[in-house]
Symmetry: C2
Subunit: 244 residues, 2 copies
Amino acid sequence: MSSGTPRTGGPVPKYERLRRALAAAIGALGDDAALPTERELAVQHGVSRATVRQALEALEAAGLVYRVQGAGTYVAPRTVAKTLSLTSFSEDMRAKGLTPGSRVVVVGEAAADHDEAADLAVGTGTPLLRLVRVRLADSAPMCVETSRLVAARVPGLAAMDLTGSLYALLAEHFEIRPRRADQAVRSVVTGEEQSALLGIASRSPALRVDRVSYDERGAPVESTTSLYRADRYEIRFAVHREAP
Amino acid sequence: MSSGTPRTGGPVPKYERLRRALAAAIGALGDDAALPTERELAVQHGVSRATVRQALEALEAAGLVYRVQGAGTYVAPRTVAKTLSLTSFSEDMRAKGLTPGSRVVVVGEAAADHDEAADLAVGTGTPLLRLVRVRLADSAPMCVETSRLVAARVPGLAAMDLTGSLYALLAEHFEIRPRRADQAVRSVVTGEEQSALLGIASRSPALRVDRVSYDERGAPVESTTSLYRADRYEIRFAVHREAP
DNA sequence: AACCCCAATTGGTACGTACTTAAATGGATA
DNA sequence: TATCCATTTAAGTACGTACCAATTGGGGTT
């Protein structure tokens, strides 16, 4: 298996298929509509109750349903926001129904400074590939994004077409798949250069998102700093509170 | 479950106690250290493997461990950020090691405007309790927070001590416990009045967080708009990518 | 030494059972 | 009519078994 391509195909588990079926069925129901009981669903779909519960837990975590002990499982009232997940700019824009694009501003190698080295878990001075792009949504500037990767891990990346999804390139050519990321969101005002790239007045408000993404082993793969136009972008997400 | 088992264990489920025990044990381990196998943990703690898995799933969701099929379960490398969860300002500050406080600016009833009514799922003009507070961290202004609740649901709240945690008051006196919220984060610049309240220059950058929180039934309970000083606050959180 | 294959290990999926706890129901009672 | 309580129903917890899928490591081959 090591030499071949780790095709992620394979059989889709029952609970996952049930989850999708229920998610689709929920779309046709109204807010607070009761779903069949767990035991009924088990019989209807020919699976065990444990499998039904696995599917329902996923739906509950996604905010699609809520469950009340002794009562039943119900369709959660629709809201705009979805649970926050790790997405690239391209995926993010497509999810909003916009066409993503890029204009490459800078691409080249540079030695890691102290902070970059710490983020990527390498020594200071390690060669990094630094990529600065103006990200476009429907051809209009949305943000300036600076990406940094350990150069040795992505040989030849600088010569590829960097106007599309970086995550797609990483997966296709280097088997690098970010699975987790830590993000910090701040409010800042833009400087001269950034304002010009974004096509806005200098000292405009902007949302700055610093992200370090990690692969399935927890090894850092990319550090990104994004500067979003405040007038065109906001972050929406759902949060939950634990049981007590 | 043998009959001799002391039933004084309390209402805390086994998987939850195991989760806490493991979370504590993990603190003493290094990054990427291997945990015992699921079957070993089951024997060690006298529970079934299913219960062990339930505890590990919670730890994985919280970003404390990662699991590799065929290999084992490992301590996730520490990072600053935790998974985002629904917290009040008071809880948020205490988690950062700061002492929260408040100065009430405005408290009173007002009719819901169109947006507020939509957020709280009531009719326009419904009486709302509107509460504006300057939230303090170690006695210094951190944000201006405007909370809105349906007045009929919280009779007498306006007369209570509103300098502490609103969530605590809601739980204690009205059995209202927010479980979920939708948030929108934007970058803005402060106006005259807000700047004065925060003790910063006018037209300073700020993080604006709009939140609508819901109870366990999905009914909206509170709408909040918070304006955080950009120089003193940032939002940190971890995001995950689903297995493609 | 390098490579490949197989077996053991380990987490992932799926089933079954049994019981507990909380909510809803409906009938008896005040 | 209104209230209380026992019953029923539902999700929550916990155990056990079995097998699948991916990784790892050892042993044999090249």
